[in-house]
Amino acid sequence: MARRSFLQWPVLRQFRSGDVLGRGPAVTSPHTRALEPRTATADRVVQSICPYCAVGCGQKVYVSGEKVVQIEGDADSPISRGRLCPKGSASEQLVNAPGRQYQVRYRPPHGTQWQSLDRDTAIDMIADRFLETRRRTWQDTDESGSPLRRTWGVASLGGATLDNEENYLIKKLFTAAGAVQIENQARI
């Protein structure tokens, strides 16, 4: 073993291989010789779309060990032909951002700090607030008696990075609940 690794001493390889100046194969390390891109070793590749602007560039998402390890352009896309802008190129960092939040946080009225809360409780509390406000601010008719059937007390502002399916459910739920102030970035 020791003998083999001694023979691997680049100085010897230099003179054995003819690469006397030690520029090429004589000086490579085992690590270098075993190099493989993480795109080749990924467990799976998933086709996706860039979440930033509205061009809709294709992305390939490489996953290893249930972590996203690389996001790059999808060369198959006729829209983008594998290219991405700086934001699209940074998508992997968006997913694995250093400041990204993984926990629900709650700030009670007049509180000065965040508190933690489990998600289940949070959603339940939000549902309660939603219904209370709706009850308090319900408008059945306008001043001339035409039906309004709505609440003016709940509003929403959605970013335009929501999926169509998400927008659809939001619109459906809010409309059924009588909330009309549903807006998104399309107007901003």
């Binding site: 001493w9 680049p10 100085v11 230099q14 006397v20 100046l21 030690g22 004589a26 000086v27």
Partner: protein, 367 residues
């Protein structure tokens, strides 16, 4: 500039981070004409060469990321090499004190130098990788091998001296015999690698894209061996009684002559712009003092070398001169890399000269 009475309530302008300061400084004169991007044509109040433009005054090449440890190593390597020679001389001409002190000096210098070098590595724990290959094109690689070879000889030789100084009390056992047997060959071996050790550092600096160092490539080895000679000789004059320092004093004087001559020649032969950093700023000051001290030390040696106090003073002056030479040249090179002028102007000039001479096929820029 003021907006209103609210000025006092504004936050203070930050003093500027480390980098911001550096930016302004390196811009220096450049900034005024580079305020508008690289458009050097207009607004160039202080530009000597109207053709000179750069990218916002930013450097073209990068200075070596070396700290003062490396400048110190240039000095210590020289001292070690010179001392190795003196030790061998002492060995061969039977000057035991000179031999002993020079051997010890050589080991101390090479040891300190080695430490300085390792300390300056980005990954000191990997210093052994220096012996991973033999790169004939790499002065650093060759230097590492030279340093190792020299250290081996110098170490064995010095170990003998130490052993003797402690009255053979080192716990060596049967190895003492081996040590003694190796003493003379080791002294000679070290001497063989002594001058390469003193000289290679010049190539180490010259074999870079650092304008001032690279431009000095013709004469820098001579400056460095001269400086090594006078420094090691100076050290011997400090450590060794005058009775045995005759050769060292000679070497010191020859070193001074060589140092002054080679330095002047070097300045003269360099592109004038690339030589500028040797004259300006901290580096210029150091090099001026260096020359003065060398001459003073030389004269002192010549006139009062037989008197121990004068010899010691002269020796110290010579050591200081060598330190200043190394630090000065080191500093000048780093400065030259930080200012794009020193890269761009000489290059433009040589390109134009070649074109004027009818050589038009070797430009990196082509139509």
């Amino acid at each position: 500039m003021s907006v209103s009475e609210f000025d006092s309530l504004r936050p203070p302008e930050p003093a500027g981070g480390k980098r911001a300061k550096r930016r302004r400084r390196s811009g220096g004169g450049a900034r005024s004409w580079l305020g508008r991007g690289a458009d050097g044509g207009r607004d160039m109040p202080v530009v000597p060469d109207a053709q000179f433009t750069s990218y916002y005054g930013k450097p073209v090449v990068k200075p070596a990321p070396w700290g003062e440890e490396v400048a110190a190593y240039l000095f210590l390597g020289g001292v070690a090499g010179g001392s190795g020679l003196l030790a061998a001389g002492g060995q061969l001409t039977d000057r035991p004190k000179l031999r002993r002190n020079a051997r010890l000096s050589a080991l101390a210098a090479v040891g300190l130098g080695g430490v300085a070098l390792v300390k300056d590595l980005g990954r000191p724990e990997r210093f052994l990788n220096m012996l991973r290959t033999v790169k004939l094109t790499s002065p650093m690689s060759l230097g590492s091998w030279i340093l190792s070879a020299f250290s081996a000889g110098a170490g064995v030789a010095a170990a003998n001296e130490i052993d003797r100084m402690t009255g053979d009390r080192l716990p060596l056992g049967p190895l003492r015999k081996v040590l003694r047997a190796l003493e003379k060959p080791a002294g000679i071996e070290a001497a063989v690698f002594a001058t390469p050790l003193a000289a290679y550092t010049a190539v180490l600096l010259a074999d870079t894209a650092t304008p001032t160092w690279n431009e000095a490539r013709q004469d820098l080895p001579f400056v460095f061996v001269s400086s090594a000679s006078l420094a090691s000789a100076g050290l011997a004059m400090v450590t060794t009684p005058v009775a045995e320092t005759g050769p060292a004093q000679r070497l010191a004087v020859l070193g001074v002559i060589g140092d002054v001559t080679a330095s002047r020649l070097m300045h003269r032969r360099m592109d004038p712009v690339a030589a500028e950093p040797l004259h300006h700023g901290k580096a210029g000051t150091m090099l001026r003092w260096s020359e003065g001290l060398a001459i003073a030390g030389g004269i002192g040696t010549l006139l009062g070398g037989r008197k121990r106090p004068v010899a010691v003073a002269s020796g110290l002056a010579l050591l200081a001169s060598s330190v200043l030479t190394r630090f000065g040249i080191f500093e000048a090179g780093i400065e030259s890399a930080k200012n794009p002028k020193y890269t761009i102007e000489p290059q433009r000039r040589r390109l134009a000269a070649r074109r004027a001479a009818g050589i038009t096929d070797d430009s990196i820029t082509t139509a």
